[in-house]
């Protein structure tokens, strides 16, 4: 259905922080409708990759395209391009109620309250709408952030460790949400069961370098990948 140009593509991205090579010639095509996992040990450059896409970090080399056109968005224009992202941990507006947190993500369309209510409903936290996030359990707060990302009806949803700190039931819920989301998903995650079950393809980074790319089965059995993780653990 989609032409090869469609969707987001990263071409040979390189990012250096001083002497540290955070991304080393990373290319990735994110095909519409797919769930693309990005994994790798701590400090591999996963969040940095997200930051480049979102315009928080500039790449020293390489380029990006969206639907074949050059893409370099300022962070607050991402939503307009149909890209929404959650932050590692929780990025939340503690002075805003849960409902207001989600409302903040509504940038277009009519009846913002209804849009927000629908997103809360979808994330199963409608009952908390009037509460302040700081008073709620961590898992609920993570859902608030998800709801804020979803409320903009993104075509690409970028999730940075959405399962971090969640229990099994919560992760199962998340799994369903990702699977049923009618958007492209880019998923950075350490929880391997989740990654393997929801992703169509997976990019593995190690010290900023892409070391493997392919469907879950291939990645699972790739010795380079196990080496990278074992190396990191050792």
């Amino acid at each position: 259905m989609s032409t090869p140009d469609q969707g987001l593509a990263l071409h040979h991205l390189t990012v250096r922080f001083g002497g540290l090579l955070a991304l080393d010639d990373v290319s990735l095509r994110v095909t519409p409708g797919r769930v693309v996992g990005i994994i790798g040990p701590n400090g591999a450059g996963k969040t940095t990759l997200f930051n480049v896409v979102c315009g928080f970090v500039g790449a020293q080399a390489g380029s990006m395209t969206l639907d074949g056109r050059p893409f370099r968005a300022r962070p607050h224009h991402l939503v307009r391009h149909g890209i929404a992202r959650t932050l590692q941990g929780v990025g939340q507006f503690n002075g805003l109620s849960v409902l207001e947190n989600v409302l903040a993500g509504v940038r277009s369309g009519r009846k913002p309250e209804q849009q927000a209510a629908a997103a809360l409903e979808r994330c199963g936290i409608a009952e908390h709408a009037r509460q302040m996030p700081a008073t709620l359990p961590y898992a609920v707060r993570k859902r608030v952030e998800l709801a804020r990302a979803l409320v903009s009806k993104p075509r690409i949803l970028m999730l940075d460790e959405p399962a971090g700190g969640l229990d099994t039931d919560e992760i199962r819920w998340l799994e369903t949400l990702i699977r049923e989301a009618d958007t492209t998903v880019m998923l950075v995650e350490h929880h391997m069961d989740l990654v393997m079950s929801v992703c169509d393809e997976i990019l593995v980074l190690d010290f900023g370098k892409p070391i493997a790319f392919g469907p879950p089965d291939t990645i699972r059995n790739d010795p380079k990948v196990t080496d990278a993780y074992l190396g990191a653990a050792a």
Binding site: C54, P75, H76, H77, F93, L96, A104
Partner: protein
């Protein structure tokens, strides 16, 4: 900035968005009370009431900037001076008060926009430093351009006398409070919609705000501009009240007092700004009385600062969210109790 954020964090539950009182109703009732007061209070008290109104314009704008948007400004005294001098120059040339006040607001808004543009690039102590520099530099402009601003002596402000049927103080109180109530009404509406939400989102988490599609810089500049407009209006009113302007009326301590006042009152809340405005008039007045009875002018100046410091410390220990948070905390517990009762628990 972390100080501001912590302060704000403690008032979170009190922030607007829950109990929605119609602001127009509040303003109408307040207006009626003010009119009644101007017919009952003695002239000097009426003058003080007018001063509260003028301060209220400034504190309301400042609490939006600092409380809702998290930007600290030590330069609001200087912005007041800008408004005051603009009005003085205008009046001495044209003597038309209402257009003069509007021009004063516009000029201060423009100055605020310039500072705001720079401020949006700065955070925390650097922002405080910038606004502090403004507070120091602006008054010194008056001595640099002697011809226009008449240095330390300042300028008189030409004003037409009010209608004969009312006292000057009454007229002053009405002028100041019409301005204050219009300001507060405008701010109430401005902050309860999207703009208010964006400001608070930017204050709480800039990265998340950007990802939600909010232009952080734009929001911050707008907040500064709005707040500067309010300070300009307040400054113009002070020029009307004292019928003169001089650099000495807008010292650095004024900026500090403004900030302390809104923190004591309760950051980010218009009611807190009102309490702050009352304190700005009451505490120096008390200091003055004590100073006079002790026969020392130096004591007077220092006492005001001491009072503010002491009140600030006491309030921060007793009610970290400022004076408004005390009342709110009680209503909140009664509310939850009522909710529990309804649920039959």
């Amino acid at each position: 900035m972390t100080i501001v954020r912590d302060r704000v964090a403690t008032t979170l539950h009190a922030l607007p968005g829950k109990r929605r009182i119609n602001p127009i109703l509040v303003v109408v009732v307040a207006g009626a009370i003010i009119v009644a007061l101007t017919y009952t209070l003695p002239a000097f008290r009426t003058y003080q009431l007018a001063t509260v109104g003028a301060y209220f314009c400034v504190t309301a704008g400042l609490t939006v900037l600092t409380g809702l948007n998290g930007q600290l400004s030590l330069g609001h005294g200087a912005l007041m001076a800008t408004g005051a001098y603009t009005l003085a120059l205008w009046q001495n040339k044209f003597n038309m008060l209402i257009p003069g006040v509007i021009v004063a607001i516009l000029v201060t808004t423009a100055v605020g926009a310039i500072i705001g543009l720079a401020a949006a690039r700065l955070r925390g102590p650097y922002l405080a430093g910038l606004t502090l520099a403004v507070a120091v530099v602006v008054p010194s402009i008056s001595s640099t351009f002697d011809g226009t601003f008449n240095s330390d002596q300042g300028l008189p402000v030409a004003l037409n006398p009010p209608p004969e049927s009312i006292l000057v103080e009454q007229w002053q109180a009405w002028v100041c409070w019409i301005a204050a109530l219009v300001t507060v009404l405008a701010l109430a509406y401005l902050t309860r919609g999207r703009f208010g939400r964006d400001m608070r989102a930017v204050r709480d988490d800039e990265t998340a705000a950007k990802l939600a599609g909010i232009s952080v810089a734009r929001t911050q500049v707008l907040a500064f501009v709005v707040s500067a407009a309010c300070a300009g209006l307040g400054g113009a009113l002070f020029a009307v009240l004292s019928q003169s302007v001089s650099p000495g009326a807008f010292p650095l301590t004024l900026s500090l007092f403004l900030l302390m006042a809104i923190v004591i009152g309760g950051l980010g809340r218009l009611v807190g700004a009102l309490i702050g405005a009352l304190l700005l008039v009451a505490l120096p007045a008390i200091a003055q009385e004590i100073g006079q009875s002790a026969g020392s002018q130096r004591l007077e100046g220092n006492l005001a600062l001491t009072f503010f410091g002491v009140v600030l410390v006491v309030v921060m220990i007793a009610a970290p969210g400022g004076l408004t948070s005390i009342r709110l905390r009680r209503t909140k517990t009664t509310r939850t109790r009522n909710e529990l009762k309804q649920k039959g628990r």
